[in-house]
């Protein structure tokens, strides 16, 4: 038989146990709520960061200034063994020059670079029939200016052509501010043989500014109104404009052959 005091003690123990269990349960609910809040807040922060980094945008083929190793190799192979000097690609003694006025932000210039240029390089530049002169304008906006200056600096190291080619493959949305230092560094680091740090320094040099201005003056002088615009010059003759309806290798080479005859 238990005494009265023993029964009271047992009842108190049960009550305390129940209170402890209730406290634990309340605390667990509070912690779960805190976890839910932390997860929700973290999700908001992550989504905001993803959107801010441009990862949520659609229809953008650009890798964000980070060409793949395969792209770098492909561009390296396209120009491998061909002399490059400043804006000019090809044998300096080639009998004719194809001058291209382009803007690195221009999508049609990228289309030409992707669809037509490999044929021109293979069939005209490699055999020494033609040299190419790339005159980079910057009429589309501030991103074009930054791009053209970096290209000019790459040209000082005789790497303008692969730089432009890799830039075209990574074009972002026009004048969205995507041509940042990091973007240019990324493109530059994929150009075989380019000293990126030197190019980043030299893009602010008077020589780079002069190169960009010279391209703009030459375009004005030639009456260029859109990009890309092409002129063929044979020997010391007058430049002849290539009138193109489409940017296909077939039409381009047909017009080029006509101009070279």
């Amino acid at each position: 038989m238990s005494t009265k005091s023993e029964r009271r003690a047992a009842a108190r123990a049960i009550r305390e146990q129940r209170e402890r269990a209730e406290r634990r349960s309340a605390e667990r609910r509070r912690r779960l709520l805190q976890l839910g809040g932390a997860v929700a807040l973290a999700a908001v922060v992550v989504v905001a960061a993803v959107v801010l980094s441009g990862g949520g945008s659609e229809g953008r083929a650009s890798s964000g200034g980070a060409p793949s190793a395969a792209q770098s190799r492909e561009v390296g192979a396209l120009f491998a063994g061909i002399p490059q000097r400043g804006t000019v690609l090809g044998d300096p003694r080639a009998p004719a020059t194809l001058t291209e006025f382009a803007d690195l932000q221009c999508p049609f210039c990228a289309e030409y670079a992707r669809d037509v240029l490999p044929t021109v390089v293979r069939d005209y530049v490699r055999p020494g029939r033609l040299k190419l002169d790339l005159q980079l304008m910057s009429f589309l906006g501030p991103d074009s200016v930054r791009a053209a200056r970096m290209a000019a600096a790459a040209g000082m190291q005789n790497r303008m052509w692969p730089f432009a080619e890799l830039f075209y493959r990574d074009q972002g949305q026009e004048n969205s501010g995507y041509v940042t230092d990091a973007f240019l560094r990324g493109i530059g680091s994929a150009v075989p043989g380019l000293d990126v740090q030197r190019a980043l320094r030299q893009r602010s040099s008077p020589a780079a500014a002069r190169a960009v201005q010279a391209a703009t003056r030459a375009a004005d002088h030639a009456g260029v109104e859109s990009t890309p615009t092409f002129f063929v010059t044979r020997g010391g003759g007058q430049p002849r404009a290539l009138e193109l309806q489409t940017l296909t290798p077939g039409e381009f080479t047909a017009k080029l052959d006509a101009a070279l005859r």
Partner: protein, 138 residues
């Protein structure tokens, strides 16, 4: 594992993460190539990609701030406040690290070992932070 031991383990992880992010921040501002085991320039490719900055701020610097915030909360704040704060920071860090790893794999086509190390540290931190938050010692 006691609550205190959990907090200590997380503090060690946060400091390790801060060291990694600090190194990458230094590399970013010094404009030098990060040390990359095996070479190949993969780390530099990732570090110089457009995704290396968020709103003009280097991602490495954001990571450093995040790790230091976690370490600060663990070392200085009372446990009741630190638990949810650290869980939030670590979960956000883990989510963003997962996104960055996705970019490395499918957009940049290059893997930066430092970033992977940081992502692993952050994932461990998140697991420990959630474990600590859900433990009830009443």
């Amino acid at each position: 594992m006691s609550d205190r031991a959990l907090a200590r383990a997380m503090l060690v992880l946060a400091l390790a993460g801060a060291a990694i992010a600090g190194y990458l921040t230094w590399v970013h501002y010094a404009g030098i190539e990060p040390f990359c085991a095996g070479g190949g320039g993969a780390c530099e490719r990732v570090q110089t990609s457009r995704y290396a900055e968020l709103g003009g701020v280097p991602v490495a610097l954001l990571g450093l701030v995040g790790y230091l915030a976690i370490a600060g909360a663990l070392a200085l704040a009372p446990a009741s406040a630190a638990r949810p704060a650290v869980a939030f920071l670590a979960l956000a860090g883990m989510g963003f690290s997962a996104y960055l790893t996705y970019l490395e794999l499918f957009e940049i086509d290059a893997i930066c070992q430092w970033c992977v190390a940081s992502a692993i540290v952050m994932a461990f931190l998140a697991v420990l932070a959630v474990t600590r938050l859900l433990r009830v010692d009443v």
